[in-house]
Symmetry: C4
């Protein structure tokens, strides 16, 4: 394609409307998140541990987040998560009117991402359980897509788990992007967010897989419902499905508020910026 033809293509098709651009971006980002992230779970489960395990799932899912945020960060802020978008609205960083579009795009991206995992591993799924798509039992594969609670987990404990993990997620995201704190240099935030996902998955992943993201959970669950696993994906785990939707939304707001109350609200001077504050604590005599 020549330069010239590209330019005229751009003139014809380039979107002038920011919200449409942002919706496309969130759709693509959440697609990548689920296609790669749930792909990691799929590889570990379908290979019965031969080609993956806790570490490949943890690191792989985290790097899926990193990649998705790189793809979408400059256009739509790289939310790829309705809970993040909600927290941005609540704290005045995103217009409320944009929220429904963001969430819809994220949900759609997650749904299509789940379809991609099923497609890419179609032969493996058929081989794994002779074509049967099961939600529970030793050959269960539904948990490749959506999260399900551990057998011992009560709804209340699971709800608290999702509130807390999403709260820590948002609290840390706010710190990572807070230029008046010791924020990550521009262009490296997606990697820091990936490292954050690693620790959250290693520490709070056992109860229910640590969704922390309503789109990441509901999108693939809807896909499994229509793709052959059936309505059991909603009833399993004592009707677990609504927990990874409601709890993360609540947790995200709590986490953002906690960061603001504990840290952001007390930054001494918005103008001066405090560029060297961290270094000061370590390097200079601090005898104020």
């Amino acid at each position: 394609m020549s330069r010239k033809s590209k330019r005229s293509l751009k003139e014809k098709f380039a979107l002038k409307n920011n919200l449409v651009k942002e919706a496309l971006s969130e759709f693509l980002g959440t697609f990548i998140l689920i296609a790669l992230g749930c792909g990691c779970v799929g590889q570990a489960v379908l290979s019965r541990g031969v080609h993956g395990g806790p570490m490949t799932m943890t690191i792989g899912f985290a790097m899926a987040v990193t990649v998705a945020v790189y793809v979408t960060g400059g256009v739509s802020g790289g939310h790829i998560n309705p809970a993040v978008s909600l927290a941005m609205c609540v704290t005045g960083r995103l217009k409320w009117t944009k929220l429904p579009i963001y969430i819809l795009a994220q949900l759609l991206g997650a749904f299509v991402g789940a379809a991609a995992v099923f497609g890419i591993y179609y032969d493996a799924f058929m081989d794994y359980s002779d074509g049967k798509l099961e939600v529970t039992g030793p050959n269960a594969t539904a948990h490749i897509f959506a999260t399900y609670p551990a057998p011992y987990l009560s709804l209340m404990n699971g709800f608290a788990d999702q509130v807390m993990s999403t709260a820590v997620l948002l609290l840390a995201i706010f710190a990572i992007f807070d230029t008046r704190n010791n924020s990550v240099p521009k262009g490296l935030e997606p990697i820091a967010v990936g490292l954050l996902i690693i620790v959250l998955t290693c520490s709070l992943g056992m109860n229910s897989g640590c969704a922390m993201n309503p789109a990441r959970d509901l999108g693939p669950r809807l896909f499994t419902a229509v793709a052959g696993w059936g309505m059991e994906v909603f009833t399993a785990g004592n009707n677990w499905w609504w927990v990874p939707i409601v709890a993360p939304l609540l947790g995200a707001v709590l986490g953002a508020m906690t960061y603001i109350i504990f840290i952001e609200m007390h930054h001494s001077d918005p103008q001066s910026g405090g560029e060297n504050e961290v270094r000061d604590k370590y390097e200079l005599t601090n005898m104020e």
Copy 2:
């Protein structure tokens, strides 16, 4: 919340006192460190190795440190460790009068963080050992919170272990933040500190879990004492509990001193800064 109401909130509640801000920050940071860090140990232990192992604990705990330092770095220097705060006082980087407040905030944060781990994994704890909270034996869970010595370890060897590992920790932290050495770019120090924790845990973690942090150890130990594990958490391991308190404090000062004596003291010229010294060694003919 509108911008305006946020501003007036800020006027009402923003803390003018630096020490209170810093205490809040250290409390929150140490809370995150323990909630996520001990969470990683909990996940590996309570899942009996299914959802975690040496690598998830190592990398998870290290990234918990990274996240905690991002949250607190710009406000309180991201110590989240009384041994670090002490070394900063000894080397004139923190006022001695602040030390008790820093330590208290860290201890409290660690205590509450341990409570969070217990809360989030309450159902898992009950399931793991039929509700019995044991300090030793095959169903022991106390080591999810505080560190205990390996059966072969003498107190003297354990003490030396904690002195040396904390000394290396501080020595390396001083290097990471030393702008006249090849210091880490601003905003990425927390990641370098995380990588440092990885190697310390991989190399010096076998004797006693490598606490290197009195608050990280005593806070959760106190929590287990009151939450049902009982006073055995203090008597176990030949009254081990005081070692991860005293040895790290000693080690931190030794490590800071070692860095100053071997490296910092000899920097040629504080003004010129030696920005390009490293490159020089590799790139330019160095025929002085």
Copy 3:
């Protein structure tokens, strides 16, 4: 060697022709990619899992990419992959006339890299299977060099797998280098590309080892054909060999196009650069 003699050497031998320089660079880079990358697979296979497994292969291969891109990035763009070079041509980032030379250099580098792996592990190969070099069966070693499909995989599913994984690879590479998106800071792109390879290998590696690179697959396959494994390396897996050549080329173009259509085409203003766009989404009230 003195400075002076070096300078005259430079005068004599320094290449003035850019294309020759770039060919040398791509040759060296792809050599490193295969020598180290396939070396990781070799270590895991030949040690029968004692010195490696899914994680060392995943992280090792990814870091081989990172190292190879560091070595070649500033000279030839660090493609080390005909699919990447093709996508650069299609999108007007590389002259079409350069493409055959790039591909030839990459293929040659991969061939020699495979020879290096065989040489370095010659004793290990002999020890592993008493000198027999097998393509299939329990003592197979051909998959150390080229990729082969899993037993369950149909050609069609395998083709789709390689199209999609290479598409995501290119899409993400375009994001990582897109300065009008949230691009990685200069000099750190190779690390971001490495992290991208980690997630692709963890999520899409089970079907056929995720070659995503015609040179990476064909070069070592040609080497095994002549080095003693014989022509079975082409017939195995239902004549699998052409899939990791054709599918990645197609996928790369699709991925590049997807990025352009979803993201790049809609950047609002090429001049202003949008330096702070990401931060804006998170930090400033965004009430346009």
Copy 4:
């Protein structure tokens, strides 16, 4: 310690002689490298795999290199390896007269580092094999300190292995620090070097543990010889000990030369610096 007293201390003890500073730095760096690096091997071996394995050894040793380079980088260039220092001399980046001092300091640091590992794990060593320190057999512990060849490995293959791995090490180090290539941003080179060590250990670690560093191997071997393992540490593996000394020195020079011949010699213009060359390959139409 007050500021004032520190200043006068500095006046009294600060070293004016660069070479002494650099020697101190290399000693400390190599000490850290061995204390932490061999500590990782020790933890995996002495815990019989419970607290470590291939991944903790790989990542741990690599991060030990990273930490050691951070501590020493700004003062002595962070060589911590006689093979690196030799390559710097051969390419005119270090004065030849400094070489013996660098090597001596590195050897001494490695010796003392090995002693630290033995000290910290003294109780563990005694527990592991009832106080017997063995070089070969199921309870061997000598390979915690120095490298030994795999049973299948011939001296010639082992020699080639060490030449090649050190050549790749140096080649990549030269790329990482080459500001006219796509070099790593200042202050992050130690992390890139760590990632490089990861892939080298994952891919070329099976033959003989991939020492690539005469001081890293000889220092600890000398320590084991005097600490109770006896002279068998030199005779084992068909008198293997000299290979990880001679081969890395040769490999380092070869690697440095290869980088210069393939890449560095052809950089078009030393003045202009080529700041944006990489980006150009990806982002701009490159229709020269």
